[in-house]
Every structure is written in structure tokens, then in C-alpha cells.
């Protein structure tokens, strides 16, 4: 812990910190470009010069490169370093074009800020400016290469940190170029990060092109709703339109970067078909009347037909507060305990994570500093892309990644892939002895900080419990082996945490016919639960279907009473991520039709209105409060939640944008684990995997992501295909419990033999991942 003096102020910093970081700790910002907290320093821009008066290397030094030493004396504002930085600022601007007015970076441009900080204003050099031709980099990123100052941050982000291979640096001398060898869409699933990393406007967000200036944006810290990792994001909106999402900083989860699904998948907020108005079949009601009607109707039904007549269904998309209020309403009504997820296998897996795993849950920060990560049945790029980024950091730091998964996986790092079918995976996890498990246990026991990652979809509750046994087996007195489950949605953990241990299946309860009213809170079991068709039949037995939602799902159209709710970006709430971290999100924009819609692309309508068009959506928690005639603030509710559930301790202190708080540990719960079903002869194990884009409903309803949506493809191992006399490109039919589906066949060597892999996306909404293991037959399509 060296203590040094910078500008006559003493500061003590951690071992290995640089002078730049030490100065930052004192609040002295030394101008810099190429240094970035996550990427480190390369000393390329020469901007961060300071003068070392006393120390090992005296004189003018780059503060990002020299380590802080005890007794060092540094000045940042002396004439020598100030004039050096002013010259550097001037020559960095030699070739920079005069196009700030038409540059999207203007206003949030580090080059603008540092040029002003270095004191450069008037151009003295009379020579010509260097120019480049730009490349088309696909639908998400625009390149304007003339603005480049050669800091190499984009390459260090894209190649080094994110592991992309199709973007790099070309050329020699002063014509160094950052781009692809040939024009085309950037392939990495983390390509958007170069927009955040670029200190000037070379790479800007194409989906946000010319939409707003930074100072006009309404921004607020939020939590990404697309997967269970709970990355920090900062969405920005203007004129009631959500225009862009940039990465927030949370060391405990994502660090500095996010994936493209989170960045470009915000279109659902402004989906043109988003239901913004209350509709009630045959009744003329306003919002207050509808809420009153719903409460009265539910009470009447319960009185006449008993406690099973009303069924409340929460969701893993809804916030912790909304789910909890739904439970309170159930107590108030006197009906059965609400189900908090329609997808029972996923919910059970989440419960294992929320209760059995709670004492050894890892954060992504812990995972990044691990030296051995073993994944079981997890496809990070589909189920939690930022995890793939964290795995890359493990490998970069010299650690290893081993994956046991049937799917042909891609990761942005080197890894050891063992292709096992789901049945073999369960066998491996429950094996006491065997060459593979012995080898794995030895590796895990030798590792200094091992982490096991389990995909909740593929392993299910049973597999996750087996994973915990393995973690216990390889833990020792010095260190515990940590666990990280991958769950279905942003608040899967929170919904599981609130749920009591044993609950009936949604479908069995609906199919008895005793349920007369179903209330769905921000969920559509037709799309979000397996066996959507059975559910559709069961809906016919209902008298009333009440839906609260913010997405244009089929259920919101069928509902007999539909109440529009706010998207997570339009209200405040809490999500609990897969590592048990409670995180608060803040409202970014108010609900309402964007001006681009009301003005039809032209200027806003010239009329005076007291109300905003399309502002009917209310936060789900507020509607639920109205049902109970409760007008308290959300902060008062939090106190009551903590009093009821001590595991949520700290909920009242959470602030949007902070790093969140881990829920308290819980006792283990005994989960009844079903045995794996027998495989009928001649069938394949059906693997329904989430598509990287479009498997979660929020990204499915985001038009910006359309270029990344995958076509409907069935993958088979060439060996299985040969047995069925099929070849790549053939039209095939897949028969399973859920029905028959037509696909185009592709072959994959890496896919475990005996499996048929399909991806869930908008193309096949009924194939929902995470169901219990089932089997299917695959054959050639018969032409009639």
C-alpha cells in the first residue's frame, strides 16, 4: 500500500495501482484516451503525461504506465506536463474532421472534453487532413473512420476483451485503419461495446443514429430484462421513445460491458402494437372502475364457488414488488397462494437456486477472478451472454473453462467441450466414480477458486441439486466451490424466492374446470411455458381472463379484461438476478405514444391536450395496490416486505445504479425430483435451446434485432442423420409431444449423438426451452 504525493496531496493506493488511478482517487482527472479501467493502459495516446519530481523514473512520464511507489512526488499542473498535453491535444486534432454538428458522439465525446481540457482551440496547422473510406459494418454500428485518433480502444475491446475475431487493425504508418478485412455485419455478440469504448465518433450506434443529443436524453440506471444475469444498463429516451441502451457499470455483475441483445433489444417498449389501452369485453370501464370491478368480481366468484375459483399467476418478468403484492392480494381475497411462474420446470430450477444454492452463489465478479469454471448444460451466449464475456476473462488470466453440454457451443475463448447428451450429463453428475468424474474432481480440487455453472433449462431442478453435491464434494476447508445457476428470466430468482415450497401445476388446476377467473401478471403462458396448446384449450373453461401486461402477446388480445402496465423501463422496481443479487431499476421515460408516432414522423401535433396520448399504462405494483385500496409509497412497502421476508434485508436501502445486495442465505428445501423418463426406441432426445436473439419475449418484440434472428433449423449429429437417410438442407418433420414441426436440417459434428436440437424463437414460439426431458422422432418431410 504505497503512499505518494500528487499535487501536494497525499494518497495511499492499492499495490500495483498506477499514478493515473492514484490521481483519480484524489479527484484529479489526468486527461487520457487509451487508458480504460477494463482494458488497462497501453500508453498509445501520450495524453496522460505528468511530471515525476521524486521517484524511480523522474521527469515527464505517462501516468497510466508508471506504478505508484511509496514516497513518490508527482505534479500534474506544472508548465512542462501542461504544455506537453496541450501539444498532444493539438496533434491528435490534426486530422480530426470539423463535423461535430453531424456526429452522434457530440456532447458525450471524450475527445471534445480532453481537447478542451488540454487547452487547444484554434487550428494552427495548414496541411491537409487524412481521410479514409468507411466500411458498412451491419445494422448496429456506423463507422466514420475520418474521426479516428488511433487509440486502439476498439480493437482492445472487440478482440482482447470480447474475443471477436472479425475486426481488427489494418495498415501501416499514419493510415492505420480499424475495421473488418471486408465490409459486413460484425459477428461478435458484443459488437455494440465498441460504441461505448470509442472515445470519439468513429463507431456510433446505428439504431440511434441522429435521434438525439446526449444532453436531451432522459437516462436512468436500469437492469437489463433480457436474461437472468441482471447486467447494469443505462437506457436513454426522448419524446417518449426509448432510443438507446448503453452499458452501466457494476463490478459485481457485468463490469463495463453488455451484450448486443441487451443493447439493441429495447424495441419492445415502443412496439407499434403494444397494447396501451384498457380493454374489457362488452363493458365500458375506465381504469379505476376496472380495478374496482376486478376486485368485486373476484370476491363474488370466491364466495360463490370456493377458494379455487380465482387463480392468480405471477411471473419472472414482473418485479419483486409486483409478485409480492399479488401474494398480498391473494391473502386479502382469501384465494389459494398464487403461482409465480407458469413454467413449472424452470420455476423449480429457480427454487433450487434460490434456496439450496444460496450459501454458495457466485457473482460474475467472483467468476471473472476464478481459475477454473466448469459449465454443465449451459450455453452462455444464449442463456446469459455476459457470462461468456466473464469466461473469456477467466481464460485471459490463465484459467480454464470446461463445458459439458450436448450443443455445438461457441464461446469467445478457448474451452474444453465435452459433448454429452442430457441423460449422460445427469449420469455424470450423479456418478460416484468413473474416469471422467474422477478427472473432473481432481481438477476442481486442485483449483484455487473453482466455480460450477449450471444451466437451469437443461439440468432442471434435479440436475442443479446434483451439481450442488458435486460442489460440496470438491470444496475444502480453505475455499468453497461456488455455484452459478442460469435461470429463465430477469426475476426468476425473485419469483422463486417468494414462492412456497410445494405448489400444484398450473395446467392441472386449470383443467379441473374449477378455476373460473385467471389473473395473469405480466406473463403469457402460451409463449412462456411449455405445452402452450394444452393451456390454450384450458383457457376455454374460464369465465374471465384478466391480463396485466406491457407486451403485445396473444393472451393480451384474448383477455376479457386487459390492464396495460408499464415496462420495467417506465417504472421503479427490483429484480433479483441469478446470483441472488437484488437490484433496483429506475424509471427512464413515462409511458405514452412517442412523438414520432403521434406526429407521424413530422412535427408534434399542433393542439393543446391535457393528457398524453397512450399514457394509460400504470405500474403493475400500483394497480395491485389499488386493488387493495393501498396508497402507500413503494418505499413503505419495502419495509413491510423485509419484515415479512428477512431474506430481503437491505431492500429498503437499495438505490438504482448501485451494485445491489445479495439476499440472505436460506435453509435447503427438499424438492421432489422426478426420475428421468425412459427413452423409447428409435427416438432422439429433444433439446430445445433458447435462440441467442428472440427467445425472451422482450427481444422477440424488438424489431431492431431482426437481422440477428435465426432461421428455423433442426440440428442433428451426422451419424443420426445417416441412420435416417437425411442430409444437410433436407426439409424434415419433428414429431414430439408438443406436435409436429417442419424444419430445414443442418448437421453438426459437435452436437452429441442421439439429440435433436431446435432453437426457440419467434419462428417456433411453442417450443419453449427448459421443459422436462422429452423425446422426438425426426423424419423426412413426406410430399403429398
Amino acid at each position: 500500500m504505497p503512499t505518494l504525493t500528487i499535487d501536494n496531496q497525499q494518497v495511499t493506493v492499492a499495490e500495483g495501482a498506477t499514478v493515473l488511478e492514484a490521481a483519480e482517487q484524489l479527484g484529479i482527472i489526468v486527461p487520457h484516451f487509451c487508458y480504460h479501467k477494463a482494458l488497462g493502459a497501453v500508453g498509445a495516446c501520450r495524453m496522460c503525461a505528468v511530471t515525476v519530481v521524486e521517484g524511480a523514473q523522474k521527469g515527464l512520464q505517462m501516468s497510466c504506465l508508471i506504478p505508484a511507489e511509496a514516497g513518490m512526488r508527482v505534479t500534474t499542473g506544472d508548465p512542462q506536463s501542461t504544455s506537453f498535453r496541450a501539444r498532444v491535444g493539438e496533434w491528435l486534432m490534426l486530422n480530426h474532421p470539423h463535423d461535430c454538428p453531424v456526429c452522434d458522439e457530440g456532447g458525450e465525446c471524450q475527445l471534445q472534453e480532453m481537447t478542451i481540457a488540454s487547452g487547444h482551440g484554434i487550428r494552427r496547422y495548414a496541411g491537409k487532413k487524412r481521410t479514409y473510406n468507411n466500411q458498412q459494418l451491419g445494422p448496429f454500428i456506423v463507422q466514420e473512420m475520418n474521426r479516428c485518433i488511433q487509440c486502439y480502444r476498439c480493437v482492445r475491446t472487440y478482440q482482447d476483451y470480447c474475443g471477436g475475431r472479425d475486426f481488427g487493425v489494418l495498415g501501416s504508418r499514419d493510415r492505420v485503419f480499424f475495421g473488418r478485412f471486408q465490409a459486413g455485419m460484425l459477428e461478435s455478440d458484443f459488437s455494440g461495446n465498441i460504441v461505448d469504448a470509442c472515445p470519439t465518433g468513429v463507431f456510433t450506434d446505428k439504431t440511434y443514429r441522429f435521434k438525439s443529443r446526449y444532453w436531451d436524453l432522459q437516462e436512468a440506471p436500469s437492469i437489463c430484462p433480457h436474461c437472468s444475469l441482471g447486467c447494469a444498463t443505462i437506457p436513454g429516451g426522448r419524446f417518449r421513445e426509448l432510443q438507446r441502451v448503453r452499458s452501466g457499470i457494476n463490478q459485481k455483475t457485468n463490469g463495463y460491458f453488455i451484450c448486443d441483445r441487451g443493447r439493441f433489444g429495447s424495441g419492445y417498449v415502443n412496439h407499434p402494437e403494444r397494447p396501451r389501452q384498457l380493454h374489457s369485453r362488452g363493458r365500458e370501464l375506465n381504469l379505476a372502475e376496472a380495478v374496482r370491478w376486478l376486485d368485486v368480481q373476484a370476491r363474488e366468484l370466491l364466495e360463490q364457488q370456493g377458494p379455487e375459483a380465482v387463480l392468480l399467476l405471477g411471473s419472472n418478468r414482473a418485479s419483486l414488488e409486483s409478485n409480492w403484492l399479488l401474494q398480498q392480494w391473494a391473502i386479502d381475497l382469501g384465494c389459494k397462494v398464487p403461482l409465480l411462474s407458469a413454467h413449472i420446470p424452470r420455476h423449480q430450477a429457480a427454487q433450487v437456486a434460490a434456496f439450496d444454492f444460496s450459501d454458495r452463489l457466485a457473482s460474475l465478479e467472483q467468476l471473472r477472478s476464478s481459475d477454473l469454471v466448469v459449465l454443465f448444460g449451459a450455453d452462455p451466449l444464449a442463456e446469459g451472454p455476459t457470462l461468456a464475456l466473464a469466461l473469456r476473462q477467466v481464460v485471459r488470466a490463465g484459467g480454464a473453462v470446461i463445458v459439458y453440454d450436448p450443443r455445438p457451443l461457441e464461446l469467445p475463448c478457448e474451452f474444453d467441450h465435452q459433448s454429452l447428451t442430457p441423460v449422460q450429463l445427469h449420469e455424470l453428475l450423479s456418478a460416484e466414480k468413473g474416469p471422467e468424474i474422477d478427472r473432473l474432481c481432481e481438477l476442481l480440487q486442485r483449483a484455487a477458486q473453482p466455480v460450477l455453472v449450471g444451466g437451469g433449462d437443461l439440468l432442471g431442478a434435479g440436475g442443479l441439486l446434483k451439481l450442488k453435491k458435486l460442489a460440496k464434494r470438491v470444496s475444502n476447508a480453505e475455499r468453497a466451490c461456488l455455484l452459478l445457476p442460469l435461470l429463465g428470466a430477469a426475476n426468476s430468482f425473485g419469483a422463486a424466492l417468494l414462492s412456497p415450497a410445494e405448489q400444484d401445476d398450473l395446467l392441472t388446476r386449470l383443467e379441473t374446470g374449477r378455476v373460473k377467473m385467471l389473473v395473469c401478471l405480466e406473463t403469457d403462458p402460451l409463449l412462456e411455458a411449455p405445452q402452450g396448446e394444452r393451456f390454450a384449450d384450458a383457457l376455454a373453461k374460464l369465465d374471465e381472463l384478466v391480463v396485466f401486461d406491457y407486451l403485445p402477446t396473444p393472451l393480451s388480445v384474448h383477455a376479457s379484461l386487459f390492464l396495460p402496465t408499464c415496462a420495467p423501463l417506465e417504472t421503479v422496481g427490483t429484480f433479483v438476478n441469478n446470483g441472488g443479487r437484488m437490484q433496483r431499476f429506475a424509471p427512464v421515460i413515462e409511458p405514452g405514444l412517442p412523438i414520432a408516432v403521434t406526429g407521424d414522423g413530422d412535427h408534434p401535433p399542433r393542439e393543446f391536450l391535457s393528457a398524453t396520448p397512450g399514457d394509460e399504462p400504470r405500474p403493475a405494483w400500483q394497480l395491485l395496490q389499488w386493488l387493495m385500496d393501498d396508497r402507500r409509497e413503494l418505499s413503505q412497502l419495502h419495509g413491510q416486505m423485509v419484515a415479512q421476508l428477512p431474506r430481503l434485508d437491505g431492500l429498503t436501502e437499495l438505490r438504482p445504479g448501485d451494485s445491489g445486495l445479495r439476499v440472505r442465505n436460506a435453509d435447503e428445501r427438499s424438492v421432489i425430483v422426478e426420475d428421468l423418463p425412459e427413452q423409447p426406441a428409435g427416438t432422439l432426445q429433444l433439446l430445445v435451446s433458447p435462440a441467442r436473439y428472440g427467445s425472451d419475449l422482450c427481444s422477440r418484440f424488438s424489431a431492431k434485432l431482426t437481422p440477428r434472428f435465426s432461421p428455423a433449423i433442426l440440428r442433428l449429429n451426422p451419424q443420426d442423420a445417416a441412420e435416417r437417410e437425411l442430409s444437410a438442407g433436407d426439409p424434415v418433420v419433428l414429431d414430439c409431444d408438443l406436435g409436429s414441426f417442419k424444419f430445414c436440417l443442418q448437421l453438426s459434428e459437435q452436437l452429441a449423438a442421439g439429440c435433436a436440437l431446435v432453437e426457440n424463437s419467434g419462428a417456433f414460439p411453442h417450443l419453449v426451452p427448459g421443459d422436462r426431458l422429452s423425446f422426438c422422432a425426426v423424419g423426412a418431410e413426406v410430399q403429398l
Binding site: H98, C100, P101, V102, T131, Y132, L170, G179
Partner: protein, 176 residues
Amino acid sequence: MHLYRDLRGTLQPFWVTLRNMFRKPVTVQYPEQRQQVAERYRARLILTRDPDGEERCVACHLCSAACPVDCISMQATVAEDGRRYAAWFRINFSRCIFCGLCTEACPTLAIQVTGDFELAGRDPLKLVYEKEDLLVDHCGQEPDYNFYRQAGIAVAAPRGGNPTESAPEDPKSLLP
């Protein structure tokens, strides 16, 4: 002494009146009679065009940022040739205080002040000017400047074709 002072105080105003009665009046019979305002007078704002006849405004939002009363709003969009322009541009003159800060902020010399001060009206909505009301057919007070000829992006000239730029580099070249 008081008598002298009082007499002077009574008579002097009559003398001043008498002296000015025969001077040429300075009152202008507005609106029948109109007067030329000073060249740098700050009144109604306009959006000018560049010497090539294209819109100068690139909807960079600097005027709306500089505006102390927030009376300017706009939305930028892009033309097929890459030119950034305002899809809509609105100035609420019932709020404008004619301070001229927007014209000082404008990097393309698009927004300029004119001497037209006659903006009174009974309907506030008539004082909300849209782009079609603001855009004029001339360069205003700056006849020469064309932003896109200085900007370093290919709109007015192909890439590297402006006078201050060299031809585009070939990054795949191996020449020293």
C-alpha cells in the same frame, strides 16, 4: 430667493414647450409608416440555405441547448446522400426572448436573426413556427459558408474531395 426659483420653475417648462413646438416631429406613424431597423437588430429567426441552395440546418441541437427559454425543438433525420437535416424544427415565438444565443451557437450559420419584429398576435399557436415557416430561400447575412464543404464527410463532395482534405488512404497498401 425662493421667489426667483419658483418663477423660473413655472416659466421654464413653457419655454421648453414653446421651443419644441416648431421642430420637425420624430414620431413615426406606424404601421402606415415603416422604418428601417438596424442591420444587427435581433427579431424573428429564420433558417437559411447554403450558397448551393440546400438547407444549412443539420439539426445538431446546439441552438436548442443554448436557448435559455427552451423555445426550440427539433428532430434530426438523414437523407439518402448522408446529409443530416431537420425532419421538423419548431420555434415557439411566444416564448422566445430574442437574445440571439441560438445564432451564436449555430455551427453551420443556419439559424439567423432578421429585423422582422412584427410578431404580435392573439392566438399563441400562430406564434409556434414550424420548419416550413422558418426556412427561407436565401443565405441570410452569410452568403459564402457551406458547412458540408468543410466537414470532412461525403455530402457536398466525395470523400477526401474537399479543399482541406487529401484523397482517401488505402489501408491495405504496403507502400512505405
